[in-house]
Symmetry: C2
Subunit: 499 residues, 2 copies
């Protein structure tokens, strides 16, 4: 009977996985294929599926089924016990919010996000400020409701939605260390950079079809399985779909191929994680990717570590030259390295290099904690942003468009998400260092365009684990240490100062 | 309270429309975009949505809600009364089958369809015959169950699933007339054709990109709204999606552009019907397309009547020459007309011209009635096919691959569908003649690439009616007569004999 309970629970979550998969394809279609006139109908389709999904996820029989199932499972069966744990975690999150709050949040976030699009275009923060105030007020309510249901501090309850078990105290500790290290380090890197030749970005035009052909060659080299995935174009690059059918996107700039190419590699890192999730558990909670930190670690490991390495750039250079008939100094490996490792004090997070990126994230983390705590008013956000960026990165945005209006997250109601970008960077450094210790041939193999040794190690140590272990347990098992800043700092120091 | 009942009913059907729309996009994706490795997961997604849809459609509260709603609606409100009628029709169809029969049917049809794919490839009818026997036995059960629930004869209950209110007696009457007319007519057409110059198919290669550009030019001319639809490639051309986002497909043969181009026009006829459905009723039963006969009439009206007319071919010729840099006799209007109006005794239904096509359909109609009645055994089907095609069309297939294995329909469990192809051809002839009587400028406008007069008439008389009227009512209102063979015979006689 308890085995029956377990099977019943699996069937419920298999249905939820199917709904999630259907929604993922519809989202992908919206961003890549859908004609503009289909938007309204698509929104209704997605709302209908989301409502059905919510009903399935808040099914009141789930906790009793889980309790009955637990007693029948062998204590050594980590997968099934993990599956019950993750199923209950998802159930608790879904049940934490009263239905009217879910509806109010959805409406407030949609309205604010819509207003943000034009406010950013018009550089008009005041136009969106009242809506942002509402979004924040509702986020505070959400945090309180989740905190009560989950027994967590309010901000921790938000973090937990994106990254299970992540807590603010941990973020504080890691970010304090980076805040201490990075500004001085950045000064040294920039001083060194001025002494080297300037990076020359190869001059285009680069036909979209040629960029795509090169990208597909790299997909194959990295191990992206095109039998189970495809590459398309969207306004913002993303990874969607389901593990058996992963959809990645990029956009092509015909005047500069370098950024689109690295975006493809970034998304391929995400895609390899999804493709490598444990095949027999993919439709269950325990078979999902672990959380945003681990997901971002996989994209950054590929983009920042494997594919900005001198080995990879040496492999890339002749392929890039052949793809675009490139000749001259701009196409030499040493120059490509300068292009791909250029560091600068910039205004925009998504354009930032790996040295300054954490500073952009730390700014957002500090500000969102203050906004949620009520110690920073929305009206004062633009000024706080200018001051903070000046202090942390050393530049001050001339306007809000390139300041506090640049990112969609807060305007869409996402609080507690930003830190995972930088925690992912820390995890990536730690995992890549461990992979190279365990499989010393990895850099040389990458230099030959062979990613099998690296991806094999990631499959065994990260991808194939799914959500059976926590983020910290995965890192401890794979790297011998909990999440920390040491590997990241060592990586930066070696790469940018040669020390 | 009764107004509340009506609103509650609308909400239920709006949800069903959203589920149908989500499934339509997923089906389209499967045929156009999905990597092969995604098939299994996609099947689970679709099965989950189909199950949820079936639950919603068999909701036991629907009849009482409809009864309560009916008493509150103004008798003159044809849309709302029509909506209740169509809602109940759909509910009755969905409820007619016991759940175990639905499951058995689904499994038997899937298994047989799968076996058919290899049986056709191997020209091995015996390999699929036992599975086809099971499919037929289940179709007989389905027909009996639907007949009992709907108060119809068994075959009529099957027809009613594809084309509401269509009855076998009507099909018998119309097909008897065609059986009488077409063979002698065909002899005369072929005799005349031998005296004319032979049709020269323009020689390629025709680049896919050039074919696509020409197809898109024609989409625009015909009035396909690309803000609400798109054209892609699939193995078999089809029309999918939803009215606000219609997805049509074709496939390109680089050695012959003429068939792909006409396939695009055929699907555009379907698409214009969907795009022209009444905007405020699209998500309700009364706002759906009327049935397969009307749908096929719209594709055939565009393909056979509007776009094989001398006016359209005169418009097309210079565009085709420009698209493919065509020169010489093959590109002259008179030759294009011979290519597009060539009649021949062929083996394959989907390749048939408009003169022989009904004979292919009549063969299938006679055979499927005999198979369902038990008067024809599956083992005797190949021989019955050869005899029937020889008698009706005058050719005998050398093997079953190009004989009784050529169409997917029966092997996938579709009985009662074939007749609608030819009823659609009859309706198309009748509607096009009526359109030209009502708006005499239509042919000249088409000669100038202007489809607005034709499509405007179709919007007013067919598309915009949705399912408010029956097929016969739509035809009577638009053409002044019920569905008949006269317009079709007059059209063929004028076009092929010049009489």
């Amino acid at each position: 009977m308890t085995a029956t309970a377990y099977r019943a629970l699996e069937a419920k979550f298999r249905k939820i996985a199917s709904l999630d998969g259907a929604m993922a394809v519809l989202h992908w279609d919206s961003a890549t294929m859908m004609p503009a006139g289909g938007a309204e109908t698509r929104a209704e389709q997605l709302a209908t599926l989301a409502e059905i999904r919510h009903q399935a996820m808040t099914d009141p029989t789930i906790p009793d089924l889980a309790a009955a199932a637990a007693s029948a499972i062998d204590v050594a069966d980590g997968w099934r016990h993990g599956n019950l744990r993750e199923a209950l975690r998802q159930w608790r999150h879904a049940n934490a919010l009263p239905p009217d709050l879910v509806v109010r949040r959805s409406k407030a976030n949609s309205a604010c996000e819509m207003a943000w699009r034009s406010a950013r275009g018009n550089n008009d923060f005041k136009a969106v400020a009242p809506l942002l105030e509402t979004v924040i007020a509702i986020a505070v309510e959400v945090a309180a409701a989740k905190a009560a249901a989950l027994g967590l501090a309010p901000y921790d309850a938000l973090l937990d939605s994106y990254d299970p078990d992540l807590r603010g105290a941990e973020v504080d500790r890691l970010f304090a260390d980076l805040k201490n290290f990075l500004p001085g380090f950045l000064d040294r890197v920039l001083a060194g950079q001025t002494k080297a030749p300037a990076a020359i970005v190869p001059a285009g035009p680069f036909r979209q079809a040629d960029q795509r052909a090169l990208a597909e060659r790299l997909l194959d080299a990295l191990g992206f399985d095109r039998h189970h995935g495809r590459l398309d174009v969207s306004h913002h690059p993303f990874t969607g779909g389901v593990p058996a059918d992963v959809r990645i996107t990029t956009r092509y700039d015909e005047s500069n191929f370098t950024r689109s190419l690295m975006a493809v590699i970034h998304e391929t890192g995400h895609a390899l994680y999804e493709m490598g999730l444990p095949a027999e558990w993919r439709e269950q909670p325990v078979g999902s990717a672990r959380g945003m930190t681990m997901h971002e670690s996989q994209s950054l490991l590929m983009e920042m570590h494997a594919c900005r390495s001198i080995e990879f750039l040496s492999y890339l250079a002749p392929h890039a030259r052949a793809a675009f008939a490139g000749t001259g100094a701009a196409w030499e490996i040493a120059n490509l390295k300068r292009v791909y490792l250029k560091v600068e004090r910039g205004l925009i997070r998504v354009d930032a290099d790996e040295v300054t990126y954490p500073l952009h994230v730390i700014l957002r983390y500090d500000l969102e904690r203050a906004l949620l705590a009520g110690s920073l008013m929305v009206a004062d956000l633009p000024q706080a942003w200018r001051e903070g960026l000046g202090r942390l990165v050393g530049v001050v945005p001339p306007d809000d468009k390139d300041g506090c209006l640049q990112d969609i997250h807060w305007y869409g109601g996402d609080f507690g998400y930003f830190p995972t970008y930088t925690l992912g960077a820390l995890a990536a450094a730690q995992l890549y260092a461990a992979a190279k210790r365990a499989v010393p041939e990895i850099p040389a193999a990458i230099g030959a365009g062979r990613f099998v040794p690296l991806v094999g190690w990631l499959r065994a140590n990260v991808h194939g684990v799914g959500s059976r272990l926590s983020t910290q347990e995965i890192l401890a098992a794979a790297t011998g240490a909990p999440l920390g800043t040491e590997a990241f700092k060592r990586h930066l120091t070696a790469r940018y100062l040669g020390e």
